[in-house]
Symmetry: C2
Subunit: 463 residues, 2 copies
């Protein structure tokens, strides 16, 4: 076993180099890139990056790393938002982006099997001719492996659920080098512990995902989009609550606050009224889409909504949702040379308006610029803090605001992260949220990864 | 610590008696009843039954049992089907049926919080005036705690999902005596390992559930039911596949084979044509229910379906679904003095017709009587073997048939149990189904319950 010195990882890397040759890269630029995600958290480069080609590569790498107790961090596209890919203790990054084959489409079962490096847009382009699609859309063109690992969701979750609801089975390489398949392809099962769900959202701390069986859906016959402005966040949220309680299967319902609307108007060349606004989408037959749109229009009107417009025009719809997808960049463009701190919380929808309004007041009182965007149907919203990194006072106020927002969400029986995950950015908040349950998580982590080689320093602090 | 003798459990029971007084019962009749479920598996009585009144009672009992390494088996209503409540090694049964309070209804959040002894029908009666309901319906009037623990589903799962999809959070007493809360009430979260899902379907082997936060749904404005007969199982299954692929959100779609129809005709005084038959249900607005019913009628007609009738008449609908719920008893009534072996498997829907047809042929070749009933939208079906327990040859043929059916389902990428669970009845099949994954389950079990006191002998064989 190697000495605990700065040369700690030299021996395993040499061993890995002998096995993998050119697939193992140690160049500074590649290592730096792989230790960095899209978050504001400090990047940490791994000692080497393995561009894995197969599950056998993953097993071989895990076997070497276990022998040397070398950290292993899986990498898909690096679009995570809580420092998930940062190699906090160095070690080996396993880049799975070349494991990008769509292995099977089971049309009648509404399922497909993919490697973890397959990206969301790649999958839907591949599926288009089959009439099927995979609905989970976190915004970024993320890898499916990464989406599984962070329990991602996004704009469509209000109708189609999150990654938790859309994975049937996973193949995972455990720290002990065994390959497990967590479930068969049956749509449901009561056979044993739900290891599929355990691995979803585990952020690579319990194993490396090498195959994913996903649920698919028929591409809707008709898609309509709608926009509506409201006098207050409260009215927009109440419209959402009433819509969902009415059983309307709305596909997307997104809240943008005044600041976000300013940002998208400017960035995406729109002329929306600057007010709390809902962007919506409806999926179904032409008649059902019409019924849904009109029903929501009526609900909105009853709650002070104005300018409700719905359309099945593809161009208008694409423009609207492109603007929503670009909203984070639009927010960033509100202020030059700023650092961009994206964070999310999620609360029971009955507390959402209160949580957003209190947060908006806190932003104002803190003299900060921070548009709010929300997957309001799920009670989930994002804060996009735009901070001058050269102003320590402003950075401090931003950090304090962030912390207060999380504790506000927790006090409302909410979670410190609805869809971004814990990574190392929110590791301090997990225990505040779940208390003793984190001890049970520790026991599971220790049982499956006794040497703490799987993405150490993420989700849990291992003492 | 006590000696490993037949008096092994005497000391802990005495200790428990001192703590719980009359709430601890050791009478033979009560113990026998609590070691028995509705399955054909041999019952095993516990040494005592604690009628727990609170989570504090559960913690105290777990603390004593841990000290003495005494097995603990949770009990709700005893309606499980794989020997889940059998006290294979004696020990303490914790009956939670008195923990039956509905603690909160969060109307705007479509959630409620209940104790584990609350029963399905009790909950829906309580909710009726709120306009909300909990859709999971396994047939039996089971306790919610039991439904969580077996990952139950039933007729509504094709639209509303299973227990896996409808639990937001659990409070659980672990073997080490700590009470954990697995999640907050936010609709979604990416915060740490999904302990909620891990506990769902764990059959009381990882802890005792003391509180459940459930998802609720609006009671549909209109409910329609429909019946349709088919020339073959294949046609009925293809109608189901096409319906689901068309995006029709059918609420229930149940297959009854010829033998089941004979049974329900006789038992429930119906006059259905003896042929493979679909019972269906649609939820929605009056228009949407009409659209859905007519669309499925057209699909069925194109696949040879005949006598398609749909109705919103409550009496007709109730009669139909009462017949479906009574189908197991109806099957039993086909043969006097028989033993009733109920079992279930689940396969990808593309393989369902093949799996059922092969099983029907096998039943015929084995000279057995065994109607088939299926939650066909999920690829899940039940075999109701009617066996003369005094005929060893017939019992043997039934066991062989059962085993072949399970291996047939596994060979089709299916599961040995879609909704009944493993218990001790299917413990030998779990490894056949999931291989190495069961070793990972063993590691988790050992980490959370190192002394194997939580429902030992269920799901996993602990060596």
């Amino acid at each position: 076993m190697p000495q605990q010195t700065s040369k700690k990882h030299l021996t395993p890397i040499t061993t890995l180099k002998q096995i993998f040759g050119d697939s193992l890269v140690t160049s500074k630029a590649i290592c730096h890139q792989h230790g960095n995600d899209e978050s504001f958290h400090e990047p940490h480069a791994p000692d080497a990056v393995l561009f894995a080609k197969s599950k056998q590569d993953v097993v071989k790498a895990v076997d070497v790393c276990r022998e040397y107790k070398t950290p292993i961090i899986a990498y898909g596209t690096g679009t995570s938002l809580e420092g998930h890919v940062a190699a906090l203790q160095g070690g080996l990054c396993i880049d799975v982006s070349n494991m990008n084959q769509i292995l099977a489409v089971h049309h009648e079962d509404l399922q497909c099997v993919v490697e973890p490096g397959v990206r969301r847009i790649q999958l839907n382009e591949y599926l288009r001719d089959t009439g099927l699609f995979f609905p989970i859309d976190p915004g970024a063109d993320a890898s499916l492996g990464g989406m599984v690992s962070t329990r991602a969701s996004g704009t469509n979750a209000v109708r189609y659920g999150t990654m938790r609801d859309n994975i049937l089975s996973l193949e995972v390489v455990l720290a002990n080098g065994t390959i497990i398949k967590t479930a068969k392809r049956a749509k449901k099962s009561s056979a044993g512990y739900d290891l599929t769900s355990l691995m979803i959202g585990a952020e690579g701390t319990l194993g490396i995902i090498t195959e994913i069986t996903l649920k698919l859906y028929g591409i809707p016959e008709t898609i309509a989009s709608a926009v509506c402005t409201f006098p207050s966040v409260d009215d927009a949220v109440n419209t959402t609550i009433t819509t969902i309680q009415s059983g309307i299967a709305i596909a997307r319902i997104e809240l943008l606050d005044e600041k976000s609307i300013e940002a998208v108007n400017s960035y995406s060349n729109l002329a929306l009224q600057v007010a709390p606004t809902l962007f919506m989408e409806f999926h179904g037959s032409p008649e059902s889409v019409k019924t849904q749109s009109e029903a929501v229009g009526e609900i909105a009107a009853g709650l002070g909504g104005s300018n409700f417009r719905w359309t099945t025009n593809t161009e208008e719809r694409s423009k609207l949702w492109q603007a929503r997808h670009d909203a984070a960049y639009a927010c960033k463009a509100l202020r030059k040379n700023c650092e961009f701190m994206a964070t999310d919380v999620c609360v029971p929808i009955s507390r959402l308006a209160e949580c957003i309004v209190e947060t908006q007041k806190d932003i104002q009182d803190s003299d900060l610029l921070a548009p709010i965007l929300g997957h309001v149907g799920d009670g989930n919203f994002h804060l996009v803090l735009l901070v001058d990194p050269t102003d320590p006072s402003e950075v401090g106020r931003a950090q304090d605001l962030h912390e207060r927002m999380i504790h506000r969400a927790l006090s409302m029986d909410g979670t410190c992260t609805g869809e971004h995950g814990i990574g190392y950015g929110k590791i301090d908040y997990l225990e505040a949220e779940l208390g003793q349950a984190t001890s049970a998580m520790q026991l599971i982590k220790q049982a499956l990864d006794p040497d703490n080689i799987m993405n150490p320093g993420k989700i849990l602090k291992i003492s």
